[in-house]
Every structure is written in C-alpha cells, then in structure tokens.
Symmetry: C2
Subunit: 394 residues, 2 copies
C-alpha cells in the first residue's frame, strides 16, 4: 500500500476536537512519545547491525504499522491470521505469523500467500513440519517455516541443544516446504531485573538461535533467518552476532511493566485510557471513574514488580502523573482510584466530570480492549486523528 493510500485510512478528526470532547472511556495515543520510542529502538538496532521486524500484535493498527515498519511492505511479525490478513490487505508483504501453526490454519496461510504476501509460519514439532510440507506439496508451493527455539523455558520451542529434533524438523520441512530459519522469544526477560540480568537474557536468547542455526547448517540444512525478539532484550542486547533480525512490539508504546523492568521511563508511555470521574467515597479516599477492567484490561503485570501500579497509574488530562495515584481496584465499568497504599501523597481534588488519563500495565492487553486510538501529541489537548484498531482471529 502506498503512503498516500495509507494516509487515507487515518480518519482525521475535526479540527476542533479536544480531549474534553471525547466520550469516555477511550484510548489515547501520544504520537510524539510513540515516534520517540520507535526512533530509539531503530537507532539501537542500526548500531547493532540487525534489522527490525516489529511485532504488530501490540498496535493492531495500519496507521501505527506504517510508522513502525522499515517500509510499507514490512518486514512485520503478527500473532494471528486476522492480523496477517489486515496487514496483507494494507500492502505488507513480508510477515512471520509467530504462533505455532495449527494444520487447520494452513489453507488460510496459503490464501494469503496467493495474494502475494511472503507469509511464513512457526513450528516446533515434526508433526507440524510434516503437515506444512504436505500442504505445500498439495498446493504446489513451498510454505516457509521457522523452527521455534526455547531459549528460556517459558513457553514453546525446541531446546537449542536438541540437535536430533532440530534436524528431524528441518528434514521434514524440506520435503515440500521451505526451512526459512530459527526464531525465539525471550519471554523470561519480562521478569528479569537490572541491566545485567537483562543483558544475560539477551545473550541467552541470541546464543539459543545461533547455536540452533549452526546445528542445522552443519547438517546441510539452510537457515537464512536467525530471529530473536522481546522488548526487554531488544533494548538490552550489546552483541547480536549471528542474528539477522529483532522482533519487538511493546517498545512502540511502552507500559508500566516495561518501566518496572527498567527499560523505559514513565514519561515514555505513549498510550493511556481517558476516563471521567463519576463518583467519590470520600471517607475511604476513593475516586470512582468510568474506566473499569473493560477499558483497562485485567492485566496486573506490575503486581509482582517493586512498584505495584494496581490497574494503572493515574495522570492528569495532559498526561502528567499525579504521583502515587493508582486504579487500586476495578469492576467491569468502574475503576476505583486511590493513593497507593503506604504513600503520604494527597488525593487530588477531582470533581464529578473531571477527566484523567490512566497509564496501562500492559499496552498489548489494554489496547485490545479498544477499537481506535485517539491521537494527540505531547501536552496538547487537540485530537489530531482517530486511528482504527482491529481485533479477533478470523
């Protein structure tokens, strides 16, 4: 898709729209912060000599994708075939569907490839490799597949030391499909603390795929792509020798979990939920707002970090944190704001109808609760645009 046709997708809001005009709750995106976050990781990866394959599952938006991808054709990473279909329709041509492939999804993969997209799948078993090879043969095409490597035991993937399984998968793929490379995700890095621990995660992530690639190559199998990725490791790696690309998603927006991990500041968080005060329980020091877990998500990712942010950190309408003011509890459409337990901070004097912005624990989860971004820049209250988001799987 050309830049201009992508531009047409951005439904520009009326010139007069401000944050006060928006119906609440809704999702606010500070495009200045987003641009800064994108520039920061790009510069980092350029220094490290690897390319960026952004994970678009965080944004699920063509408008954001256009800003974060290296080119309008990609490369990109997705977590659902719905994302793949949406981005293929928007002109993206180089995509990895980075969730272990179910054989029943291969017809849709083939259909998207038939539209001209180089859509690759991920797998970690001989059974899947055989299914991909069989589907490839039947369709008269070679579906590219990456072998998922388990770098830290947190989820799926082949152990990088399991040469027998790696080679068996590679051989099964080559019987009809295409072995594109190896891929891993250091999900364990989300619980690492401190720059040293994060660098160790990044190095373990790098080493896992580099080792797996060596095993494949030594067995005479191809392994052109060596893909790593997670926002904490992308921002912590000091050496990516042997790696060809980095995937990361949440770096575009950041969130309270990432601030707790230590790889961004609170002021870098680009998304927030705009909410309206709808009540008080003054005896208890509670302010009620119209953003509950439906608007904020139920992600409590900071609950085990040093600073528990409840369901989100509360800022004034310009995005400035009040300090120690959090959404301590949430029902479906009610949020209960209060001063963080143990803090001496004062409860701000907010009246019925006043507005606040709530920074999320997890940008992917909070974003998923909304159908659009209301785009602002910095401290300005002007809403520049509304960018649609999509969801679902099919």
């Amino acid at each position: 898709m050309s830049q201009s046709s992508l531009m047409e997708r951005a439904q520009v809001a009326e010139d007069t729209a401000t944050l006060e005009d928006l119906a609440t709750p809704c999702l606010i995106l500070d495009a200045d912060r987003m641009d800064r976050n994108i520039a920061r990781l790009r510069a980092r990866l350029e220094r490290l000599g690897v390319s960026l394959r952004p994970h678009l599952k965080t944004a699920k938006s063509v408008d954001v994708a256009r800003r974060v991808m290296t080119s309008s054709a990609g490369p990109a990473t997705v977590s659902t075939l719905q994302e793949a279909a949406q981005f293929v329709a928007a002109g993206v041509r180089d995509i990895i569907y980075a969730v272990g492939i179910a054989p029943a999804k291969l017809p849709q993969v083939l259909a998207l490839r038939a539209e001209g997209a180089d859509l690759a799948v991920v797998l970690d078993s001989v059974e899947q490799a055989q299914a991909v090879a069989a589907a490839s043969r039947q369709a008269g095409t070679r579906i590219p597949a990456l072998i998922e490597i388990d770098c830290d035991g947190h989820r799926s993937g082949v152990l990088p030391t399991d040469s027998q399984r790696l080679i068996a998968i590679g051989l099964a793929l080559q019987a009809g499909a295409e072995l594109r490379g190896v891929i891993t995700h250091a999900g364990g890095s989300y619980t690492a603390r401190g720059p040293e621990a994060l660098q160790q995660c990044a190095e373990a992530e790098r080493r896992s795929v580099v080792d797996a690639a060596s095993i494949l190559r030594e067995a005479g199998l191809p392994c052109p792509v060596v893909s790593v990725g997670s926002t904490p490791t992308a921002h912590s790696a000091t050496d990516l020798s042997g790696v060809t690309e980095v995937r990361a998603g949440v770096f575009v927006f950041f969130d309270l979990v990432m601030a707790g991990v230590g790889i961004c500041q609170i002021d870098d968080i680009a998304v927030s939920v705009l909410a309206t005060v709808i009540g008080h329980q003054r005896d208890k020091g509670w302010i009620l707002v119209d953003a509950g877990w439906m608007a904020l998500s139920q992600d409590r990712g900071t609950s085990k970090q040093a600073v528990n942010q409840g369901y989100g950190l509360v800022c004034d309408v310009t995005g400035r944190p009040y300090g120690d003011l959090v959404v301590a509890d949430a029902n479906q459409e009610h949020g209960i704001i209060t001063v963080r337990s143990g803090s001496g901070a004062a409860l701000p004097d907010l009246a019925i109808g006043d507005r606040v912005r709530i920074l999320p624990n997890h940008a992917c989860a909070t974003g998923a609760q909304h159908r659009a971004y209301q785009v602002v820049r910095g401290r300005s209250d002007r809403v520049e645009a509304e960018w649609p988001r999509f969801g679902g799987w099919q």
Copy 2:
C-alpha cells in the same frame, strides 16, 4: 423488535458446520445450558414475587437478550451507553444504565430517550442529581434517575443510613428530573462462601434499598423502583419483601467463579473457548493451545477460591471436563495446559490439531474478547448459529 426480525439477526450457520469446522480460538455457547440457567432463575424469582431485569453486559448480544428478557421490550440493565444504543435499536424500551452517570453522557441519554426508550440513569451525589435535573429542564423532559445505595462497601453508592444525603439527592432530582427509585448491587457477594453467608449478603442487599426507600418516602419523595442484583444474591435470597426487581447478568452463562461460590455446577457453564493444540513440552507435562489471554481474558477470579482454575478448566471438544486439567499460564495467543498442581490426574494424550473447550473464570470478561458466539446444543458438535456480540462504549 418483533420476534421474527430478531430471528433474522441470528446468522444461521450452514447445516454442515461442526465444531471441527470452526477456526480457533472462538467462543462457544451451549444454548441448552443457557436455556436451563435462564429458566432456573426465572422460576426462582417468580416464587419470590419479583421481576427480573437482566443485566445484558454479560452477553452483549441481541440474540441472547431476546431469550433472557421477559419481553422483547425489556426490562433490561446495561453497563454502557453503547449497550443501551444497541438494545434500543433492537426494540428494547425499558433500560437502566447502571453505572454512575457522567454529566457529559446526558446528551446521549436524551437522544436514546428521544428514540422512544425509557432509559434511566444511576447516581449517588447531589452534583450528579443537579446535572441530571438541569439537563432535563433544558431538554424539556424528565430524565428518570435511581439513587445508588452502597450495601456492602465494595464500590459506589450512598450509605442507606445517610438520610441527609439521600433526601438531598432526591430533592435535587425532583427539581426537573424524576426520582425513579433506589438501586444496589451486592458485589461483595462474589467473595462470600457458603449458603448462609450468601443469604446474609442477599438480606443485607435487600435491607439497604428497602431502608433507603423508606427514608425517601417518609420525606415525601417517590420511590417506585426498589432494585437489587447480583447473580450470587439472586440465587440465594429467601425473602425479597419490599424489592420490586432483581438484576443479574452472569447467571445466563455462569462461570468457574460462580461454581466456586457454589451457586452453579461446572456442568451449568454455558460458554467456553474452543482451542486447538499447537505444541507440547512433554518433559514438563505441558500442552500448548492457540487460546491465550486474548481469547480467555486475564480474569483470574478463581485464584483466591478453594479451587484455582488458572486461566480456565479444560474440557474435551464435547464440553466434558478432563478433570484437574487447567490452563496454568497464558501469553497473548498461547495457553499452557497442564494437570493442576498436586493432582494425580494423567495428562490426556492430545495430538497437534486436536481440539479442546476451555471453561472461563468469568463469563463477562471472556465474552468481551470475542465478536460472536458459535451456538451449539449439549453434546452435539453441530454449530446451529453464529450470534454476533458487540463491544466498545460509543
């Protein structure tokens, strides 16, 4: 909306569609269980002599609403103005928007009333009452409002003993708007355990609004509606004297939290997430499926109950629980299934591509992650229909 035009909304799936044909993850609704759950609460409330005003925030579906409401015109309860607008468009005429009103939302309330709906709002402060009265006067109509009563300290509402505030709100409303009655929600009942504790919650809920109604009436103010509601108390109350209506939502589907509270059986749970096996970590006893927290929600409502169900309880494709098999962890699009910690149950022998159904902790939260229900009945694998769901606020 007439029964026949509502019928047209139910997009009947092709005769051949079965659970095996569905793309995963998706949301399954067992309409037999739903019908049974609806009949059970209806019979109970008939015996108690009160009417049912179902809370449609759980289902967010016109097709489900049609089956749970007493008539095609209502009564009904909603948690967002988007729900109100959708159900007004579908012909519902008697609605309470049961989240404290923000003054900026009154124009939309007036617009929906102008379409012929008797849409009432809820509030708990003089400021809100003044705003509703002012908007009413300006529009030349009387917006009906219910005063929210705090029966258990869990969220918003006026204490039923605070006669001064109750009367002040009532008087402020009567200066232009309409005092419709009092309303409360025993949210605290979700953490009650045992029939006796639940009956005490129900009685406290009943007494709070009956007492508040007496205060208003003794002050010469009207109070025609006396509204209580929560699924646990609706199923536990033994006397509802003085109450005119019961609101409840999750009773339609039930969920693992409600089973843990003790007001339904696992076999009553009518919604589940269909998922496909995409991998194994055999050394760890893990089965990976393509339903992560995006499909299941992050609700961990059973984590503090006697039986922690993780992110959901795993059943075979017909809906029969394996026993002690849970989604122990979840990423965005990955679920990790394993035998419950401490159980001696065996891991079932599931292959890549096999399908399971996962019962949710919280039907409202899991439902919200999906755009449609795939409707089945009992153990049949035939998909009878696809019923759309909606989300969002505006």
